[in-house]
C-alpha cells in the first residue's frame, strides 16, 4: 500500500504484571507477567472489515484495548492515519480519539440505564465540544438513522430498558458513529444478541464499511468472521498465527491450530459429517508461554525442530501462517 493504512499496529506487546502480594513484594519474589499480547502486527485499511479471531485469553480484546489506547502497551506502535498514538499524552491524544471509536460486547451493560437514547448519543459530542445545540440534535438524529433506528424521533426519548437487545446495540453503534470516526473497533458486537437479530447488526457494520469506515471486529465466532470479514487474523497465545483473505483462511487453513479450530466449528447442515480434529487439553497459561513455537505442545504435526524456533508469519502474498512445517 502506498498511503499509510488507516490503522497500523507494529510489534505490539502488552504485559500485565501479576499480583505478588505483600509477602511476595517484600520477599522480592520474582516478578511475573501475563504476556497477553506478545508481538502483534496488523493493518486495517479504510473500507475494510478485519476480523481478529481466537479463543478466550488469546489476547484479542487486549489488542483492541491497546488500539483504543485504553491501556499503554509495553512496546510497539499503534498508528492511526499515520500518527503513532502509543507515546502520546492524554491531552495530545484527545483530538485523535474522535478518529477511532469502540463498540463493546454487552449492550445491556455498556449503556447508562438512567440516560435516554438522546443523552447517550449526545454525550460524545459534548465531551469533544462539537457543534451547538441544533447541530448536535441534527448529528444525533443522523447517527441514529445511520445505525438503523429510524425514524430517530421514535427512539430519542427512550431509556435502554425500553429497547430490545438489538436496538440497544444499535444505540451503542450510533454513539460511536456520531463523532464520524474513520475506524470502528467492534468487540464481540453480536455475541450477547439473539441469533434472529445478529444478521441485522452485522449487515449494518457491513454497510458502514462500504461507506469507507475501517472496522476491526473482535470475535470468537469463525462462522461470523467468514461471512462478513474481508480478512481474518487468527490469534493464539498473544500472537497472530495465521492471516489472510477470509475465504482462503476458512477453506484452506494452513497453520495446524487454524486447521483444528476450523474443523471443530459446528456446521449448520446436519448432513455435514466432516472429521473433527479435537485438540486435547486447553490453551496454556499466557504466563508460561512455551519455548519455540508456542503451539508445539498441542500440535499434531510438530517435532523437536519446533522447540528451537519461534516462527514468524511466512508465506507469499496475503495468506501467511507462522509455522515452520509448511
Amino acid at each position: 500500500m502506498s498511503a499509510a493504512p488507516l490503522l497500523a499496529v507494529r510489534d505490539l506487546v502488552v504485559h500485565y504484571p501479576m499480583a505478588r502480594g505483600i509477602v511476595g513484594t517484600v520477599g522480592r519474589k520474582e516478578e511475573r507477567v501475563v504476556r497477553a499480547v506478545d508481538g502483534v502486527s496488523l493493518t486495517v485499511a479504510s473500507g475494510e472489515l478485519v476480523a481478529l479471531v481466537g479463543e478466550s485469553g488469546c489476547g484479542k480484546t487486549t489488542t483492541a484495548h491497546a488500539v483504543m489506547r485504553m491501556l499503554v502497551p509495553r512496546s510497539g506502535s499503534v498508528e492511526i492515519s499515520g500518527r503513532d498514538i502509543a507515546p502520546l499524552s492524554e491531552r495530545a491524544l484527545r483530538p485523535l480519539r474522535r478518529e477511532a471509536q469502540i463498540v463493546f460486547q454487552d449492550p445491556y451493560e455498556s449503556l447508562d440505564p438512567r440516560y435516554r437514547v438522546r443523552d447517550t448519543v449526545t454525550e460524545p459530542l459534548v465531551i469533544h465540544g462539537m457543534g451547538n445545540k441544533e447541530e448536535r440534535t441534527e448529528r444525533v438524529r443522523l447517527a441514529l438513522e445511520h445505525a438503523g433506528l429510524s425514524p430517530a424521533e421514535l427512539f430519542l426519548d427512550r431509556y435502554p430498558h425500553e429497547l430490545s437487545g438489538g436496538q440497544r446495540q444499535r444505540v451503542a453503534i450510533a454513539s460511536a458513529l456520531v463523532l464520524e470516526p474513520k475506524l470502528l473497533v467492534a468487540d464481540e458486537p453480536v455475541s450477547m444478541l439473539d441469533v434472529s437479530v445478529r444478521a441485522g447488526i452485522l449487515d449494518l457494520l457491513d454497510g458502514l464499511r462500504r461507506t469507507g469506515l475501517g472496522i476491526l471486529m473482535i470475535t470468537h465466532d469463525l462462522s461470523t468472521a467468514a461471512h462478513y470479514a474481508d480478512r481474518i487474523l487468527v490469534m493464539y497465545l498473544g500472537r497472530i498465527v495465521e492471516e489472510g483473505p477470509a475465504r482462503a483462511v476458512v477453506n484452506d487453513p494452513q497453520h495446524p491450530y487454524t486447521r483444528a479450530l476450523i474443523s471443530v466449528v459446528p456446521r449448520r447442515d446436519p448432513n455435514d459429517k466432516h472429521r473433527e480434529q479435537i485438540l486435547q487439553g486447553e490453551t496454556p497459561n499466557p504466563v508460561d508461554i512455551p519455548d519455540g513455537c508456542r503451539f508445539h505442545p498441542r500440535c499434531p504435526i510438530g517435532d523437536e525442530s519446533c522447540l528451537a524456533v519461534d516462527p514468524q508469519l511466512m508465506g507469499e502474498g496475503a495468506h501467511r501462517a507462522a509455522c515452520i512445517k509448511l
Binding site: 479463543e55 478466550s56 430490545s164 439473539d194 441469533v195 434472529s196 437479530v197 445478529r198 444478521a199 441485522g200 452485522l202 449487515d203 470468537h220 465466532d221 469463525l222 462462522s223 461470523t224 467468514a226 461471512h227 462478513y228 476458512v250 477453506n251 483444528a260 479450530l261 476450523i262 471443530v264 466449528v265 459446528p266 456446521r267 449448520r268 447442515d269 446436519p270 448432513n271 455435514d272 473433527e276 479435537i278 485438540l279 486435547q280 486447553e282 490453551t283
Partner: protein, 322 residues
C-alpha cells in the same frame, strides 16, 4: 419412534404470577417425547420457554410459578402429585446441568467431596463406596480419578464443566437436561464436551435434552430437535428433516439467520421480536414476523400436527411448505 419413550411431555403449561393480577405464560402447551439414548436439541430465542420447560421437568421453578400438564417418565406421571411425586425422581431419574454449572461449585470444598455429598444426600452410595463411584464418574467424563481431591479453582473451565456433568450423573439418571452446557466455553473445549455427551448417550443409553440457542451445535450433536416459539413447540423432528425440509417458516428462517462457516448464501435476520407472553395469544404467535403469513394465521393458533415420520409442525401451511 418404535421403542417406548423414556420421557413424554404432554401439553405442559407454566405461568408466573407477576403480582397485581398479571401473569406471564412462559410455556403454553408444549409437548415432546424422548426415547432412550436419544439426543434432542431444544432450540429457540431468549424467552421462548426452553429453560422454563427444563426447570419444570426438574420441579425447580420459583415459588411464583404454576404448572399444569403431564410429564410421563416411563409412563408414570411425575407431575400428578406435585412436589411429593416429583421429589423421588429429581436427580435420580432426571438430572440437569445448568448454564454456567462450572461456576457453581463451592470454591472452598474439594471437587470429589461435592460429588460424594450429592450421592450421600440421595442415598445412592455413601462412605468408601461413594468415593469409589466418584472416581469412576470422573474417569467417565475424562478426568483422572486422583484429581477428586483438587479444588474447583485448580480446574480449567472445561474440566469444571466435565465435573458438573459427572455430578449430574452421580445418581444414574435416565434423562439428562443440559442447559447451554457449552455457551461459555471456547469452541475447542465445546467440541470436547459435545463429544463427551454423545459418548454418554451412546454408551449408557442416556437420553439428553440439549437446551441451546446455537443451531449448529444441535445440527452436529442431536438426532432430533424441537424448535420452541412463544412457549410452544413450533416444529419437532429429525434434525436432518428440519434442515432439509422445514415445515415451519420459523425453523427455516432460524437456519437462514445462522451464519455457516463455509456456506456462501447470505444470512438474513428475522424481522420483529417475539410476542409478549403476559397477554393471551389467539393467533399464530409467529404471524407478525412470518414471510409466508396469510389470513388464517391471524385468526387461529395452529395445532402441532404430524407432517412426516416423527416430524410435527404447528403451522397452517405445514402441509404445503416446502
Amino acid at each position: 419412534m418404535s421403542a417406548a419413550p423414556v420421557l413424554e411431555v404432554q401439553d405442559l403449561h407454566v405461568w408466573f404470577d407477576l403480582g397485581h393480577g398479571r401473569e406471564l405464560n412462559a410455556v403454553q402447551g408444549a409437548s415432546l417425547t424422548l426415547a432412550r439414548g436419544e439426543r434432542m436439541g431444544l432450540v429457540g430465542e431468549s424467552g421462548c420457554g426452553k429453560t422454563t420447560l427444563s426447570l419444570a421437568l426438574m420441579g425447580l421453578l420459583p415459588p411464583n410459578a404454576s404448572v399444569a400438564g403431564h410429564v410421563l417418565l416411563d409412563g408414570v406421571d411425575i407431575l400428578a402429585g406435585g412436589e411429593d411425586s416429583l421429589r423421588p425422581h429429581r436427580w435420580r431419574d432426571i438430572a440437569m446441568v445448568f448454564q454456567g454449572a462450572m461456576n457453581a461449585f463451592n470454591p472452598v470444598k474439594r471437587i470429589g467431596s461435592q460429588i460424594v455429598e450429592a450421592m450421600e444426600l440421595h442415598d445412592v452410595a455413601s462412605g468408601r463406596a461413594a468415593q469409589a463411584r466418584c472416581g469412576e464418574l470422573l474417569e467417565l467424563v475424562g478426568i483422572r480419578a486422583e484429581r477428586a481431591n483438587r479444588f474447583p479453582h485448580e480446574f480449567s473451565g472445561g474440566m469444571r464443566q466435565r465435573a458438573a456433568i459427572a455430578m449430574a450423573l452421580s445418581c444414574q439418571p435416565r434423562v439428562l437436561l443440559a442447559d447451554e452446557p457449552t455457551t461459555a466455553l471456547d469452541v475447542m473445549v465445546q467440541a470436547q464436551i459435545l463429544q463427551l455427551l454423545t459418548r454418554l448417550s451412546d454408551e449408557l443409553g442416556l437420553a439428553i435434552i440439549l437446551v441451546t440457542h446455537d443451531l449448529p451445535v444441535v445440527a452436529q450433536t442431536c438426532q432430533t430437535a424441537a424448535v420452541m416459539y412463544a412457549g410452544r413447540v413450533a416444529e419437532l423432528g429429525p434434525t436432518v428433516a428440519l434442515y432439509d425440509a422445514p415445515r415451519h417458516p420459523y425453523t427455516r428462517m432460524l437456519f437462514a439467520a445462522t451464519p455457516d462457516l463455509t456456506g456462501t448464501a447470505g444470512v438474513a435476520s428475522i424481522p420483529g421480536a417475539p410476542p409478549r407472553l403476559d397477554r393471551p395469544l389467539v393467533a399464530c404467535p409467529f404471524a407478525p414476523r412470518c414471510d409466508s403469513v396469510f389470513g388464517t394465521c391471524r385468526e387461529r393458533r395452529p395445532p402441532l400436527l404430524t407432517v412426516g415420520e416423527g416430524h410435527l409442525a404447528a403451522c397452517h401451511l405445514a402441509g404445503s411448505v416446502a
